[in-house]
Amino acid sequence: MMSPAAMVKRAAPVLACIGLLVVWQVASLALKNDSFPTAIEAMRAIPGILGDKESLVNILASLRRMAIGFGLAVLVSIPLGLLMGRSAAVAAFFNPLLMAIYPVPKAALMPIIMLWLGVGDVTKTLVIFLGVSLPVIYHSFEGAKAVEEKMLWSGAAMGLSPAQRLVRIVLPAALPEILTGCRTGLVLALITMITSEMIARQSGAGNILFNALDMGQYDTVFAMIIIVGAMGICLDAIFERVRARLVRWSEPQFDMPLSFS
């Protein structure tokens, strides 16, 4: 038996989703705007997409690119971010460069990117990579900076080399912050997974979405948006599991007393 409060807490995500759909429905009815269909219209279009084999292949292709882009980004960004956090020289070297490069919209560089990388998977994976790496680098950076110095000193006194300290002390100590970066990275991965297919498309979820957009089929557009949102929920749920495992040691011991009444 669950207490009523616990049941409400359990049901809250579902209630929130339903609430969101209701707000959407009401808003779209009120706005009477063809490019903003009602929630029901959009949901009606979902089976059409998920029932279509080609669409599923498309979506899987996108997910594969996303997984690769995300994985590579995490692998590269965490070490870079940690190094920047622990070495003022490395930070001074990379920070201005990254801050000059990241704000440039990738779409604008398409002509040159196409020149070297073509229009295929590589380009799109690169776009996802860049999207994910931004938050991961900077959260790792800040996380590494905030590592308590005496912990590093302890490690050094035990004979850990600087590289070992980075992996065995800075990395775990900064892990909660790194995971925050990864969480944002996950969000950006999903977004860039779609938007990387805006200009040039071969296959993918973005392909479906932008085709529908170009054709003015807004129910399909919004159905795809719902599907992406659902993917977001699933990935986030998985992520929270992993996170809870990895940083159990850092969770606050007591409930936030603000809610203590």
Partner: protein, 301 residues
Amino acid sequence: QQTIRVGWTIPAEESKYWMMRRAAEFPNLGKAYNIEWTQFQGTAPMTQALAAGALDCATQAPLSLSNGVVGGNLKAYIVAQHVFEKPGGFSVYWAVKDDSPIKSIADLKGKTVGISVIGGGTQGPFNLLLKQNGVDPAKDIKLVEVGFAVSEDALRQGRVDAVNMNQPFAARAEAKGGTRKLFSLSEAMPNIVHILEACRADFVDKNPEAVKAYVRDITSGMKKALANREETLKVVNEVLKAPIPVLETYLLKDNDFGRDPGAAPNFPAIQKMLDIYAETGMLPKLDAAQFKHPTIVAPLE
């Protein structure tokens, strides 16, 4: 076996859609050559891709292709033509709301006007028409970019006072009513060529046989598209995901664009368009003959 990297877009390249969706009906496709299809949002990015060598052949508009030639050092041949405006058929037009006080082009002064792409292919004839009616396109109107897909809504919501319409959106809007045609591009010139098939010259020179086979298939694709409307509707539906009932209202009917039965490029019409662009200051003067390959051009049997 040569692979051709082809760029395409929506919504009016039926012969290519046939090749994508009914590959089995094209015996050479997959044997004499292969195609790697990439879809683009509009012709301008495809021009960039051609110039960057990321594509071999692509759908092009006369203006975007010329821009590539003038600004991007692109050398290309026009090997086929997809759609043009045939007299009596569909012509891209500017619509206003039924109850709008705008009755003529001259009334556009001081209004907000939507156009699908600022500096795009339709703007040459559009500018020409405005000028002929005493409206300075640069000063007298506020031009905003409104993609074809949202133009109907933008008009109905009052975000723009007039906006350009294209198929299939025009058919849909007309079915709903409440809008009226103000003027169409055909008033500037007949036979406007909207989209063409162009291939990079260096690629054609290196792989004449493959391109020849490709053009042959485009020709036959066009034939199939025109011959079997029923099937074409299905093919287009698969590609565009637009419902067949909507397509039914216009596709390959009188209120549609024109299609040459052999997909043959209309070089004189192209030349005329280039002249208009030159006249309106969008391009320097260009000779359409440079786009013509002596042998590889539709129709090819």
